[in-house]
């Protein structure tokens, strides 16, 4: 990776962290609000099904995770396993795609 792309990744990770700070806060407050008096799957579906607002919110949340986590995984792979170079970056990218896929799939089930 070049200086420029390393810097771009760093900026992307910081920007996604800022998005996540907001998303996690909204998510936790929603959980605390939603579980008052118990929580059922039906109750969750009644809130999320067909709701474009929640769909957009959680899509942004999942994509921010998919950007943030793989970038952080790169130094972990290098520092803990000594894994460097292009193969490490492909592995991190694959991890990000898996995260995005799993996240968006879960959201699609909640929405549909």
């Amino acid at each position: 990776m070049s200086t420029r792309s390393d810097t771009a990744l760093w900026i992307a990770q910081r920007a996604s962290a800022a998005v996540l700070a907001l998303c996690v806060t909204v998510h936790l407050v929603t959980i605390i609000y939603a579980v008052r008096g118990g929580l059922t799957a039906a109750e969750i579906f009644s809130r999320t099904r067909g709701n474009v607002g929640w769909l957009a919110f959680y899509a942004v949340f999942a994509l921010a995770v998919a950007v943030h986590a793989p970038i952080g995984l790169r130094p972990v792979l290098t520092e803990w396993l000594g894994w460097r170079g292009r193969s490490r970056d492909w592995a991190a990218l694959a991890f990000g795609i898996v995260l995005a896929g799993m996240g968006l799939r879960a959201i699609s089930v909640l929405f549909a």
């Binding site: 990776m1 070049s2 200086t3 420029r4 390393d6 810097t7 771009a8 760093w10 900026i11 910081r14 790169r74 130094p75 290098t78 520092e79 803990w80």
Partner: protein, 237 residues
């Protein structure tokens, strides 16, 4: 007079700890202890020092697990139950006993663009730099580094990532980035950005914790991250 039990690393990468008994004195420094061993007990012990007063930065060693200037470290402050363990600085190849090869440390200063690049000549007037300007104050905060290697030995990221430039080299780059007379700002930012540069820092702050001159390389590295991001967003990187 009580005696101090001192275990000292003998050898290079492979070696062992050797035990010595050293008499205690008031106001005794760790460097006094090492010097006593070499002059009175074992002349084959290799160690390095020069000024003895915290100016040259050559006597740093690992004292009871932490990197320190031995000349400015009193035995009273660090001895645990009358015991000292002395090893060479971490993250550097050991030449022999307590002496490390610091070439990789200083090579990284070079790689980080640690050399001042000016444009003026001796016929030009002095540059006017306001001491109270933000840039000068940022440079002043890091300028007193004497290159002892304590921060480099304290840094876990250096230990994990052999290419990482390390706190001292990055701190040096930060002082130059804030020098309005310097002409190599963008080239230096390119040199220190990336996975082997400022972006590798995890902000553990071990360097700041251990720096004997109370510099905060962590703050300098954070400043570099901001400067690099700004340059990148402006398309200058």
């Amino acid at each position: 007079m009580t005696a101090l039990q001192v275990e000292v690393w003998r050898g290079a990468a492979e070696g062992r700890l050797q035990r010595y008994e050293v008499p205690r004195y008031p106001s005794q420094t760790v460097l006094d202890v090492v010097t006593h061993i070499q002059r009175k007990l074992d002349p084959t012990l290799a160690y390095r020092y020069a000024c003895r007063v915290g100016m040259c930065g050559s006597c740093a060693m690992t004292v009871n697990g932490a990197p320190r200037w031995t000349c400015r470290t009193h035995v009273d402050k660090v001895a645990r139950h009358g015991r000292l363990e002395l090893r060479p600085l971490r993250n550097l190849p050991v030449i022999r006993d307590l002496v490390t090869d610091m070439r990789s440390f200083f090579d990284k200063w070079e790689r980080a663009g640690g050399r001042f690049e000016g444009a003026s000549t001796k016929s030009d007037d002095f540059a006017r730099v306001r001491p109270d300007s933000a840039a000068r104050q940022a440079a002043d905060a890091g300028i007193e580094c004497i290159g002892c290697g304590v921060c480099y030995a304290a840094c876990d990221v250096v230990n994990w990532n052999r290419d990482y430039l390390g706190p001292a080299a990055l701190n040096r780059a930060w002082t130059l980035v804030n020098d309005p007379r310097d002409t190599a700002r963008v080239a230096r930012l390119r040199a220190i950005a990336g996975d082997a540069g400022c972006h590798a820092c995890h902000t553990h702050m071990s360097c700041t914790e251990r720096c004997p001159t109370h510099i905060s390389p962590t703050a300098s590295i954070a400043g570099l991250k901001r400067a690099v991001a700004k340059a990148a967003l402006e398309g200058k990187l």
